[in-house]
Symmetry: none
Subunit: 197 residues, 4 copies
């Protein structure tokens, strides 16, 4: 009995789950080591042992595959803890987000993924559904809780707060391409909350 899970048994059929995991592993490895331009159906097929036919059957575009590989690798933290102190919670969230983009080295990955999403509808859909929109929803729920507790005015525009906070980060990451570490997160949160009335 072989310890090797996939002895590469030629042509025939293999369990779907096994194929999927090997495909995602190969795609993730390519994404991390060479960037999104290396994530092509061609190379993933070559390096995962799967056939192109299979890849085209399961993923609508190589970008969508890259996105799924990214989420499989680094399950993004989607919790938004509520310590009761809104300002502290926002600062904690944004600080860890900025840290992810800078220190974690995920900055390049995320900007490449968002960049590719601008011309790949399937990647865009996967990104919005799996990451961007859920994250905004969590933030919105935290802000709504703050409204209920009176830390935030009842008529504050929650979407504007979210756009201001995260948009400021993305602005530097994607548009200006200036270093994110210069961003003063505490002051940013202070301004946003003060402005929200």
């Amino acid at each position: 009995m072989s310890a090797e899970p996939s002895p590469r048994r030629g042509r025939g059929r293999r369990p779907a789950a096994e194929v999927r995991s090997e495909v995602l592993a190969a795609a993730g490895h390519l994404l991390l080591t060479e960037g999104i331009h290396a994530v092509t159906f061609e190379r993933i097929a070559r390096e995962s042992g799967a056939s192109k036919t299979t890849l085209y059957k399961w993923w609508p575009s190589s970008g969508a595959l890259a996105a799924e590989a990214f989420f499989t690798r680094s399950e993004p933290q989607l919790e938004f803890p509520d310590t009761g102190d809104l300002r502290a919670d926002l600062i904690a969230q944004l600080t860890s987000f900025v840290a992810l983009l800078t220190d974690g080295g995920a900055g390049k990955l995320i900007s490449e993924l968002i960049g590719a999403a601008q011309t790949d509808p399937d990647l865009a859909e996967a990104w919005s559904r799996t990451y961007a929109l859920p994250r905004r929803e969590l933030a919105r729920e935290r802000l709504q809780a703050a409204q209920r507790s009176g830390q935030l005015g009842a008529d504050a525009d929650l979407d504007i707060i979210i756009d201001q906070l995260w948009g400021a980060c993305y602005h530097r990451l994607l548009v200006l391409r200036t270093p994110l570490k210069d961003l003063d997160v505490e002051r940013l949160v202070t301004c946003a909350l003060r402005g929200a009335q």
Copy 2:
């Protein structure tokens, strides 16, 4: 006096200016009608009459060519008028920016360009140098004038204001991909200025 500027005299050399303008015209047309993925050296050469050699000599990447074609077509408005009323000026600027991204149809173009810039350093450089950084500088100057006139506190963080205002727009355009027309520009400006103290 010859009315015909370019009688296409076969092989030899043509004036550089003439070639450049035809190349940029072809690239701009491709960019507008088919999107950035149609802007390849191959097609630009075919449709402009220029040779690939020439294109490679003058532009470092097809993305950089697309950027230059974009700026040549729609000379982006880089003025930032000062009427004395900061809030009105910011609203005017952001409103016309949002209108450009939505009604003008430039939204898709700009998001594709920024998207491609994430993996094309030459395009990124052209975009930052020609558009993003000058625009931020103009905004910063307007805010500094407001500080001098007392409409804005002397210790306000100008970069944060800019990141909040424009970042909010880009956040919806690039990351959330939600409709920009839902963005309440007046309220956004109000929040940002109030928050800046």
Copy 3:
């Protein structure tokens, strides 16, 4: 049962045999009408409907492709009949060879192919294997039969006879580039046989 062998069904795969025959037909046509310099992978792909990828997969160089197209077109006569009269057989062979080079119009083709073979190892190999060496072997066998029947001395150097006879033709064709029709084949054979002892 479909009567139409090739309805050009777009992108996917086509039977290899069909592709091969169309490629060789296109290459042969180019070779005959425009010479060996027109036989490029680029043009063959364009005019046969095959893709360059396919051509590079099957043929090591455009010269090798040209050689195969040549042999497919004009299956060269490689028989060497034995009527019992060596002198008559050699004269018949050389006469038809010279006729092929002059009247047949194949002279230019063959000289171009041999010419290109001097810098294209793959073409050289194809030419030697398919044509030159088999032809020499047939001639050698005919001469050996003549040795057994006593028409040729047992210690005659067969390779020298062959080099003298065919070499004389190629000398005029390739090196001197003088008209081949001035060559007196009967006298050439007479001299060679008399000289061979």
Copy 4:
């Protein structure tokens, strides 16, 4: 007064002779070190310091330039000494010819030149005029002298003798591409002279 003949004085005009010799030197060097495919107008211009304009003005094709460079480098021995012994003289000539083609390393050069001549009329003309036809004429004169001295029959076909002797060598060099060192020159000459009556 400078001892250096060509201090590369920028753009303007240079003495024709100086340019010519540098061009031929560069072409010869390319021909010897990289083969005839490296002899392009482009590279010769780059490496000789001459401009393409100048090259196109003086040489009809790159092949013709290669031929002239070849003849300039290795002034081919065109003498055909007459010691009074025809057989010895022919053996001497052919032996040195075969040695040139094999040991001298000129075999590859000469076969490449003759090969290129099959599709380059200018190279063919230069080759015939400068080398092939004069050489044949010298051989013919030597054979005529042999006829006068009675060593060769008066009605021998001199062209056939020449075609047989040199053609045998070229046959192996160009057509069969088999090693020339296996050729028994003495026996070849014996056969040719005996056959010539």
